[in-house]
């Protein structure tokens, strides 16, 4: 696949970055190199092999349906935000 300015712009959008033209040029060359490297997996015959996403078998873990004490309270967590008003996090306008 050809990695060009449009591909970078698309990936930047998926990644929520505002990429400048200069950065885009660097990223194009970097990502080309990386994708070329990882593409060597093509050589490996994986026919009939099941994928692994997690190394240990996951099992369902049950616990009692009760509220456990939390490590941080609401005010502490709100205190981490840059702008808070009426116990809510303030953000710029959406549109």
């Amino acid at each position: 696949m050809e990695v060009n300015h449009d591909v970078i712009a698309h990936l930047a959008e998926l990644s929520n970055f505002a990429v400048t033209d200069q950065e885009s040029a660097h990223l194009t060359s970097d990502l080309k190199g990386i994708i070329s490297y990882i593409s060597q997996l093509d050589e490996l015959d994986t026919n009939g092999v099941e994928p692994t996403y997690q190394v240990f078998e996951m099992e369902n873990v049950w616990r009692k349906d009760e509220i456990l004490p939390q490590d941080a309270d609401r005010e502490q967590l709100l205190g981490l935000a840059k702008e808070v008003q009426d116990h809510q996090i303030k953000v710029p306008k959406v549109l």
Binding site: S15, N16, I38, L41, D42, P51, K82, P92
Partner: protein, 476 residues
């Protein structure tokens, strides 16, 4: 480990460590934060308890350093990234809590590659950490600050995280021990996530026995991290009690891409093991050749997902150049992440995007199965595997930082362990002619951590005359 007692005051231990830490900071740039006031206060409390004859923990008054991606209220947890600037955690990572409960005293937070993306600690927003043996060279990474803090004897142990070699490689670049435990051995609760299916909490120490103590304190099931394994540390099967081991060496890792001094260190260690009666078994593990490519697909995919939470809204850095919500996300992320963070997030979104998922992500997940199968097969033939940690000793600052693929190749021999979930222990293996540290890694099957540590300790205490400390050009 030197703990506090009636004779040795915790305040003295902590003050000495802090003095050293401050003294080395200008040259080596090891710490992002010094915990002076709180550390001395805790030390005084421990001295008080000891004076009154009260019970203290197994790490009473032992100063230690914390990689800056473990959450705790002491200072800001930045993961060496601008985007976490100003973030002081209200919660404490389980691993830190367990250490502190035993009386260990955090003297500071150590530098790292931002979000642990890197193999040199040069990708830190706060600048690189220097190698303990040569100021012109990298510390290794991503846990470079922690490795150098232990190597320079500022502290006797430090925490690290290892997603693809981030403990083992800096340990070997600085001549110390570094353990990446079995996946799920130690809780990841309160650790800044990089790649959830490969991230491991582990330690740097100056000897193997200290790892045993630290593992027995920190390993175990945690209800706050449901990927932690049921308690297993120290409960080894009897087969591991035999002092004579079968040690596997991987044929493919002995090639021209590996520095001759590292190959020589491996040969010396193999000869020393044989001399002591251990059996050496040559292993053919062809799928490992693809581990790095699989790793740099799987890990970026998980990185892209984990780092999507950093949006400038709830905590950390927020861009001041934004009129709308979307601009706020985009500018915050663009200004707050380092170039390598962006590359990994974008590669992750690439391999996960429709049209490329099957060719990259699914393919890598299948390669991962093959790598696991190869390890399973290998451990039917041998107890442990001995390999180099990295293809070369510490490289020069700036040498690879602008060439992402060259930097990724650093991880060639370390990432397969993370994909397979098996433990790896970096052990010192002498020095190069110019005095740089050399390291090797012992790899064991899942849950063999205690046996691995015990074996490394046995090797440490019975040094062989064949284990020459200095590289002599391969004439040995």
């Amino acid at each position: 480990m030197k703990t506090a007692s009636k004779e040795v005051k915790a305040v003295k231990l902590v003050q000495d460590a802090l003095d050293k830490a401050h003294r080395y900071q200008e040259d080596y740039h090891i710490f992002n934060f010094f915990n002076d006031v709180a550390a001395l206060k805790k030390a005084a409390e421990i001295d008080n308890k000891i004076a009154k004859g009260e019970k203290v923990g197994r790490l009473a008054g032992v100063p230690y350093a914390v990689k800056d991606n473990f959450l705790s209220p002491e200072g800001e947890t930045t993961a060496s990234a601008l985007i976490l600037e100003g973030f002081t955690s209200p919660i404490t990572a389980t691993a830190i809590k367990k250490l502190e409960d035993e009386g260990a005293i955090m003297i500071g937070r150590t530098n790292m590659d931002a979000f642990a993306h890197g193999s040199s600690t040069e990708n830190s927003y706060y600048g690189p950490t220097k190698n303990s043996k040569d100021l012109a060279r990298v510390a290794g990474g991503s846990s470079g600050g922690s490795a150098v803090a232990v190597a320079l004897d500022i502290v006797e142990f430090a925490t690290g995280t290892d997603t693809g070699g981030s403990i083992r490689q800096p340990a070997s670049f600085n001549g110390i021990y570094g353990l990446k435990p079995t996946y799920g051995a130690i809780s990841r609760y309160g650790v800044v996530a990089m790649a959830s299916s490969t991230d491991c909490v582990g330690f740097f120490t100056q000897n193997a026995e200290d790892l045993d103590l630290l593992m027995s304190i920190t390993a175990g099931r945690d209800s706050k991290d449901l990927t932690t394994l049921p308690d297993f540390y120290g409960q080894d099967k009897e087969t591991f009690n035999d002092p004579i081991k079968k040690i596997g060496v991987i044929k493919d890792f002995d090639n021209e891409a590996v520095d001759p001094q590292i190959r020589e260190a491996l040969r010396r260690k193999v000869a020393a093991l044989q001399e002591k009666g251990h059996e050496i078994i040559e292993l053919d593990m062809p799928a490992l050749k693809y581990a790095l490519a699989a790793y740099y697909i799987i890990v970026p995919a998980e990185v892209a997902s984990n780092l999507s939470r950093h949006d400038g809204i709830r905590y950390g850095y927020r861009s001041e150049h934004a009129q709308t919500l979307n601009e706020l996300y985009e500018n915050t992320r663009n200004e707050g992440f380092m170039a390598e963070n962006k590359r990994r997030i974008m590669i992750g979104n690439f391999v996960l995007s429709s049209g490329f998922y099957d060719a990259y992500y699914l393919k890598a997940a299948k390669a991962r199965t093959m790598i696991i199968d190869e390890y399973n097969k290998a451990f039917k033939q041998c107890d442990f595997i001995l390999t180099p940690v990295s293809p070369n000793p510490a490289f020069r600052l700036g040498e690879k930082v602008n060439d992402p693929v060259a930097m990724y190749l650093e991880d060639l021999m370390s990432v397969s362990l993370n994909l397979a979930g098996v433990p790896g222990l970096a052990i010192p293996a002498g020095e190069t002619a110019s005095g740089l540290s050399l390291g090797l890694q012992l790899v064991g099957p899942r849950r063999s951590d205690a046996a691995l540590v015990k074996f490394a300790a046995a090797l440490e205490h019975e040094p062989s005359h064949l284990q020459d400390d200095h590289f002599d050009g391969g004439k040995a």
